[in-house]
């Protein structure tokens, strides 16, 4: 059985894994053959990383069978997974930066002589391991003195140094530039020819079509399907990932585009704006009284663009103009002074302070701008809180309720109120409807439109295409961290966005 070359290398049947309150994986099948690169794809929460963590022994599965080369396996730790031939290279280089390249490759399995580490032998072994990934460097220097690309190849060399049969690469290219990706793929092709099974998780469509033989798509913890790359058009892949039935989208009546003609002046202008390695270049302008959408798959650079505009990361290229005046935003503080507001997609981690009350959460940013030496009078705080509770329809027993006791949609409204209290000119909403129920979603959408009508410029980031098409007059589409199109008027449909994401030239 194990010697049968045509049998699959890895066979997973009916894999199930739950976390408290969430079914992360439900009855997922996954098959990898020898000598293939298999792309594992899916949007946020699809279950890719859970699948990989189960496979590498980090999580214990609740149900399902694993076969590697025909034999049933059940790795209970990274070490056990390695022992049966499953090696992993993680997205973030998970090595020890201060130690030498040679040590990083050999840690835990250093060659020894009379029980003591044989440094010369280790250097030789590291050089040999790196030769397999076509890298020749001084292995005695610390890992941190090399580029991320070389660190990634070092991690790959470490993974191969145990006799790996199945290699898992978790977003291996996310910090590499185009040339480095090319070099990595060169190595992967060589390893594939050697008969290794390679699983690759990635968000970059171009890369999938450049190297993957087959694709497995997951969505919401379930298997959507397994396809041969050559027989799966990009459009179809994208629509399967985002969960919009392709034929339904194409057949659906075109959404009414052109919601609300802009009333004001151009407020924000970005020209060739970006930061190499993070996102860009992006070019667009936004008027007062306009809602513009930013669409793209997970990891396409939507949030990164917002972070650049808001000064959380500094832009390195291009120009940003605010109200016609060129400006360099160095920090969120400065952005706030300039009338910018940003609600993060990660509202639990970066926005709401759960133990503070609704009132305290609302006045937070305003008080920060005023400075701690000029406390807002309590009456004013209460007036503000009441005003926004009414305006946004926050359902809470009162302004003194702790925010953690509110529903997700109401927490989102509190966050919004915090920024609106500053009376901003530009509001950036990053996934404002994630994780809240349908009714609350509709309310937030309505709110966005009424804010627009009041003359606010709004940059609306969402993975839900329906929402974007319904609420925005124009949509800028990003793919692989570059702006690939701007849709407006009749072209602004779900179909149009999907086509732009997939790359129109490759569309069927």
């Amino acid at each position: 059985m194990a010697s049968d070359a045509s049998a699959p290398l890895l066979e997973i049947r009916g894999l199930t894994k739950s976390f408290p309150g969430v079914k992360a994986l439900e009855g997922v099948d996954f098959t990898v053959r020898r000598g293939e690169v298999h792309a594992l794809m899916g949007e946020n929460g699809a279950g890719k990383s859970t699948l990989i963590k189960v496979l590498t022994g980090v999580y214990a599965p609740d149900g399902g069978t694993f076969r590697l080369g025909g034999a049933v396996i059940r790795p209970a730790s990274t070490k056990e997974a390695e022992a049966v031939g499953i090696s992993t290279v993680y997205q973030e280089v998970n090595l020890i930066p201060h130690l030498s390249v040679a040590e990083n490759i050999c840690l835990g399995r250093q060659p020894t002589r009379f029980g003591f580490v044989d440094w010369a032998g280790m250097t030789r072994r590291a050089v040999a391991a790196l030769a397999r990934v076509d890298l020749r460097i001084d292995v005695r220097r610390p890992l941190s003195s090399y580029s991320i690309a070389i660190q990634q190849l070092t991690a790959l060399a470490r993974a191969l140094d145990v006799s790996a049969r199945l290699l898992i690469l978790d977003e291996p290219t996310s910090s590499l530039d185009a040339r480095e990706v090319g070099e990595l793929f060169q190595v992967l092709r060589k390893l594939r020819a050697e008969g290794l099974g390679i699983v690759m998780v990635t968000h970059f469509l171009d890369q999938v079509y450049a190297i993957a033989d087959r694709i497995t798509v997951l969505r919401d913890g379930r298997l959507v399907g397994e396809y041969e790359t050559a027989k799966l058009p990009r459009m179809e892949l994208v629509s399967r990932m985002v969960g919009r039935d392709w034929s339904a989208v194409a057949a659906a009546p075109r959404a009414v585009a052109g919601v609300g003609e802009p009333t004001g002046e151009v407020l924000l202008e970005l020209r060739n704006f970006g930061r190499p390695g993070l996102v860009g270049p992006v070019d667009f302008s936004l008027r007062a009284g306009e809602v513009m959408g930013l669409a793209g798959l997970l990891g396409s650079g939507r949030t990164e663009t917002a972070r650049l505009i808001f000064g959380i990361e500094r832009a390195r290229t291009g120009e940003m103009r605010l109200g016609g005046r060129p400006i360099k935003v160095h920090s969120p503080r400065q952005a706030i002074r300039e009338g910018l507001a940003f609600t993060s997609e990660n509202r639990k981690l970066e926005g709401i302070i759960p133990h503070l009350s609704v009132r305290e959460n609302i006045i937070l940013a305003l008080q920060a701008r005023e400075g701690l030496l000029r406390p807002l009078p309590r009456a004013r705080q209460l007036a503000l809180a009441d005003e926004f509770i009414q305006l946004l329809g926050i359902s809470t027993p009162g302004p003194e309720q702790a925010v953690m006791n509110l529903s997700g949609g109401n927490q989102q409204k509190v966050l919004l109120a915090r920024w609106l209290a500053l009376q901003p000119r530009l509001l950036i909403l990053d996934e404002p409807t994630r994780g809240i129920d349908v009714g609350a979603k509709a309310e937030i959408e309505k709110l966005v439109q009424s804010l627009r009508a009041k003359g606010l410029a709004i940059l609306f980031i969402s993975s839900e295409l329906e929402e974007v098409v319904r609420g925005c007059r124009r949509v800028v589409v990003l793919r692989d961290r570059v702006q690939v199109g701007e849709l407006t008027g009749p072209a602004l449909t779900e179909e149009g966005i999907l086509q732009t994401i997939a790359g129109a030239s490759h569309a069927p």
Partner: protein, 331 residues
């Protein structure tokens, strides 16, 4: 190929070496008999307790942890040995073995707590400090001289090396140097030693690399406990005395020696050799201030300033190397 350059990790070590040399030469220039054999021998003998403790602290700090129980364990060990030998007439070697065993087990216990329940090392070893100090006073509330022939004759004469007619190399210094050599090999030539570096460098990565994180962490505190107990033993050698109140705050002095020796308090970077030099630097400052006839509190002030200087230096070095890494990534 890039031109070879000094690995930025060695800069603090080199700086420590330079400070040590400058202090020694300064002393030699200021005071006529500073370069004598006696000063050198006293430097090692007088700082043996600190040296042994600091070597243990080096491993703990390299692993990314901290051990605050060092001084208390020294006190406990010393009074335990003194009481056993003088009042219960236990053979000194047996008493010493027992004390070492207890200290090592104590360290292992703290390590197990830190590992098993993911408790902060600061708090666990703080509790360990109170516990050990309290136990020391339970053993005996006041100090007790050791007059057993093994100490009076063996340690002082037979085991000391007569260097010339007036100067002899004390056995305590031999213990320090021997432990130093063992520690060098342990840190740099064993898998355990390298795993301690990896653990301190990045615990998550170490776990994902399949390294035995749990075992390594417990082993680190076990080594720490052994070294604390050995420092207690060495204390009885140098003072011929057991004292439950001995060495209060010694752990902080040990940490200072480790940091001055170029080890990062955040873990993962550092050298046993650096700690050796750090201990000698602290000793030299003490000697210089004694020669200068200054109040000994000046020692503490100078050590404080030096510590500050080294922390700043490390900050600059890591900022510089961070910048180099960034240019390598984006340049």
């Amino acid at each position: 190929m890039k031109p070879p350059r000094l690995n930025s990790q060695y800069i603090p070590l080199v700086a420590t070496g330079v400070v040590l040399a400058v202090l020694y030469v300064t002393g030699g220039c200021l005071f006529p008999n500073f370069f004598s054999l006696r000063v050198l021998v006293n430097l090692f003998g007088g700082n043996a307790v600190l040296g042994v403790a600091a070597i243990g602290a080096t491993f703990v700090i390299l692993s990314g942890g901290i051990d605050l129980s060092v001084g208390a364990v020294i006190g406990f060990t010393s009074i335990l040995i003194a009481t056993l030998v003088e009042e219960h007439h236990v053979a000194p070697l047996l008493a010493i073995s027992l004390a070492l065993l207890l200290g090592t087990g104590f360290g292992a216990g703290m390590g197990a707590l830190i590992q098993r329940f993911e408790l902060p090392p600061f708090l666990v070893t703080l509790a360990g400090m109170f516990l050990a100090r309290g136990l020391a006073f339970v053993v005996r509330p006041d100090n007790l001289g050791i007059h057993h022939p093994f100490y009076a004759e063996g340690i002082n004469h037979s085991l000391a090396l007569q260097l010339d007619s007036r100067v002899s190399w004390p056995f305590a210094a031999t213990c320090f140097v021997a432990l130093f050599l063992v520690a060098l090999v342990l840190a740099h030539y064993t898998r355990l030693g390298r795993n301690i570096y990896a653990l301190g460098g990045d615990e998550t990565s170490a776990r994902l690399m399949g390294l035995p994180v749990a075992r390594t962490k417990i082993a680190t505190y076990t080594i720490g406990g052994f070294c604390s107990a050995l420092a207690g033993v060495v204390y009885t050698f140098t003072t011929q005395n057991g004292d439950p109140a001995a060495c209060v705050g010694k752990e902080l002095e040990a940490i200072a020696a480790v940091v001055i020796g170029g080890t990062l308090l955040s873990g993962g970077v550092g050298f046993v050799a650096g700690t050796g030099m750090g201990v000698l630097i602290l000793g030299l400052i003490q000697t210089l201030i004694t020669y200068q006839n200054l109040n000994s509190w000046w020692t503490v002030i100078v050590v404080g300033l030096l510590l500050l200087l080294f922390i700043l230096l490390q900050n600059v070095v890591s900022a510089l190397s961070g910048r180099l890494d960034n240019t390598a990534r984006h340049g």
